[in-house]
Amino acid sequence: MKISVRLSEPFWRVAGQRETTVGVAPGQTVADAVEALLKRYPALTPEFHNDEVKPMLFVNNDEACPETPLAAGATLHIVLPLSGG
């Protein structure tokens, strides 16, 4: 099934586009979608292994974690979780 992925700042600049789709099997999770994403855009890999700040994940409008299950048509948002002035 197809999952939409929306990349926020600064990740979309690494991938070169804001939105893409990845395929995952029914019952698979956010972690599987991220794995598929990183296969397509290997340059994003260091962003997910940075010990300073790691991406924050949302599925549709809910905060998600790698174990969050995915349903067909879902949108995975990948956001840099910083805050301030």
């Binding site: 926020s8 700042e9 600064p10 979309w12 940075n50 300073e52 700040v53 790691k54 924050m56 949302f58 409008n61 809910d62 905060e63 948002h77 956001v79 840099l80 979780p81 910083l82 805050s83 301030g84 002035g85």
Partner: protein, 615 residues
């Protein structure tokens, strides 16, 4: 390095070396400003600090550079402007970057204490360790950029000025002090205090060298710390995109203040890539290694995330070019963007609810009406029509029906500074409730709370057990107190929070790094514990100042909406602040600070502060 006391009424100036004892106790910048603020508020007026009219001649206005400001320490550009706030009627303190503070120190002064009121408009020139007062009749009425340009023409291209615009001249309660096109001492109406003294500007000619204890050591520390900072992902992102990228994070979470916090998400038209279309360069302050400030193609600098949120989403305005134009306008006029956006949004909701009408507003006041807002911003700065009402900022509540105060997003009468809705992240909520100057994220925001760092990392940083879940109330007080202390030290050293440990990053410069810089720059030795103790002392001093203003535990609270109205959408849907749990957080916070249940200082600390005051 010297401290100057300037009496604008008599024209007398007294210059003394800055006290080593006080430097050790408060470092400089914000900390030492607070010491002098308490000193001058406590004398000369029957009724003490509470009775001081913030727009009267008895209110001191203090410009204080940080202990490291103007040296080559990374991001050492900052100064604080402090006084009793005409906006909150409490503690007023605004922090600012740019180039002015370095020039002030290079002109021989790390602190200017301005007293009294000049008979006519004037400005100060500080140059080569001397201070002179000049008439400013020809400058009065100019915008901030115009005033700075004329002063450069008069005193040379190498001079740097801190000025007020028309808003300060008209004593608008949210008027800022400006230097450069956008660097702003914005919070609390310090520009109005300056205007009340008939003081248009301070011009610094920074020709001298700032004394440095060990130049070679400072150079080596700078090199090492710069390399460390430039390896940070957070620093890299800020340097490339500036703060506008934060809009997308808050908006996706459902935490961007929208239409006066009736909504919590807005249009994607204000994301960084849209703002970037109007940016042609990234700029920096003195000795900066981050370079976070956009120069925009519409004639100004910025906008920052705060302005995008508060003059964008919060007033229902979506086009990026219009938000940038408003950003440039508030800067030219010398208005605090945070307060201006918050107060206009408040008025819009009051109009929407029928609590105020055309008779007062002089016409429709609808969400997203760009032309109306643009006109209103000018009317606020010049105190015309309904703008004259809003120029009172939070104090305008006295001119509205009583229930209007329920919709004001402010704490201690200071409009909330940043566009992040704090109902979801409980530590953010506690932070703005207890911040000494009112609703402000730059006093103690525990930005690490959303990073979900591992337990051992959080314990190592904060030294206390905390939860990784931002919606949990328990255990957040220690986190806020930890940020209180390190931000107070950062502000007292004159450093920028974007290189400070704990502000968005578990890395960056902490007490150990600060000590390396202090030792090389000044020769002073502190242990890490001693340096944190300075931060604690500053926070305690600010608490005492607030107590002397008559503030109590009841003032450490939140806007009514944050308690009563659940957030309407996205991941934060349903979240609000539970009153009982908030009081529990407050109990924990007071305990973490060593205060009693009413928020009073321990007697030993009060005695120490009083002894320093007498000295």
């Amino acid at each position: 390095m010297n401290t100057a006391r300037i009496d604008l009424a008599s024209g007398r100036t007294e210059i003394t070396p800055t006290s080593e004892r006080l430097t050790r106790a408060f470092l400089g910048g914000r900390g030492l400003n607070m010491h002098y603020l308490r000193h001058y508020l406590s004398r000369g007026t029957a009724g003490g600090a509470r009775a001081v009219d913030p727009l009267g001649p008895e209110n001191p206005l203090i410009f204080g550079a940080g202990l490291l400001t103007g040296t080559i320490a990374p991001n050492a550009a900052r100064f604080n402007v402090s006084a009793k706030s005409p906006e909150s009627l409490g503690l007023g303190d605004a922090n600012c970057g740019g180039f002015f503070a370095a020039a002030m120190r290079k002109a021989g002064f790390d602190r200017l204490i301005i007293l009294g009121k000049a008979e006519r408009p004037c400005y100060l020139l500080i140059d080569g360790g001397a201070i002179s007062i000049h008439e400013a009749d020809g400058l009065w009425g100019t915008t901030s950029p115009q005033a700075q340009e004329r002063l450069r023409a008069a005193h040379g291209a190498g001079t740097v000025s801190a000025v007020i615009g028309p808003a300060g001249e008209h004593q608008v309660r949210m008027a800022s002090v400006m230097t450069g096109l956008k660097n702003t001492a914005g919070r609390g109406g310090m520009g109005a205090v300056m205007g009340s003294k008939n003081l248009k500007a301070i011009v610094a000619r920074g020709g001298e060298q700032i004394p440095v204890a060990d130049k070679a050591a400072l150079s080596a520390v700078r090199k090492e710390q710069t390399k460390y900072l430039q390896g940070s992902k957070v620093v890299q992102v800020l340097g490339k995109l500036g703060t506008p990228f934060l809009y997308e994070t808050s908006n996706r979470l459902g935490a961007i203040r929208t239409r006066n916090s009736q909504d919590n998400f807005f249009e994607d038209t204000l994301v960084a890539s849209e703002i970037e279309k109007f940016s042609d360069k990234m700029l920096a302050c003195t000795s900066c290694v981050v370079h976070c400030r956009h120069r925009n193609t519409l004639g100004g600098e910025g906008p920052e995330y705060s302005t995008i949120g508060l003059l964008g989403a919060n007033i229902g305005l979506a086009p990026a070019d219009q938000v940038i134009t408003l950003n440039n306008l508030v800067n030219d006029l010398g208005l605090d963007a945070s307060s201006t956006g918050t107060i206009i949004a408040w008025a819009m909701e009051l109009y929407q609810r029928g609590l105020i009408d055309d008779e007062l507003t002089g016409g429709p006041l609808e969400w997203g009406d760009y032309e109306r807002v643009r006109e209103l911003v000018e009317d606020i700065a010049y105190r015309r029509g309904f703008g004259n009402v809003l120029a009172e900022s939070s104090q305008a509540k006295h001119q509205f029906p009583p229930e209007a105060a329920d919709y004001l997003i402010a704490v201690k009468d200071l409009p909330q500074s940043d566009p992040h809705d704090v109902r979801y992240i409980k530590s953010f909520a506690l932070g703005i409730a207890v911040a000494s100057r009112g609703a402000d994220h730059l006093r103690n925001r525990p930005t690490l709370d959303i990073l979900k760092l591992p337990d051992d990392v959080r314990l190592k940083i904060f030294g206390v057990e905390t939860s990784a879940d931002p919606t949990v109330y328990a255990g957040k007080a220690g986190m806020v107190a930890w940020h209180d202390d390190i931000y107070a030290v950062t502000d007292s050293l004159g450093l920028c929070k974007f290189v400070t440990h704990g502000f968005n990053s578990p890395h960056l410069l902490g007490y150990g790094h600060f000590n390396e810089l202090i030792r090389a720059a000044t020769g002073l030795e502190f242990s890490e514990a001693e340096l944190r103790e300075v931060g604690r002392r500053v926070i305690d001093l600010e608490r005492q100042i607030n107590l002397e203003f008559g503030r109590t535990r009841a003032d450490d609270t939140l806007p009514k909406r944050y308690f009563d109205d659940p957030m309407p959408a996205r991941a934060t849907k349903g979240h609000h602040i539970e009153r009982e749990k908030f009081q529990m957080m407050l109990d924990e916070y007071y305990a973490a600070r060593g205060w009693d249940d009413a928020g009073h200082l321990p007697p030993a600390r009060l005695a120490e502060l009083n002894q320093l005051l007498e000295a």
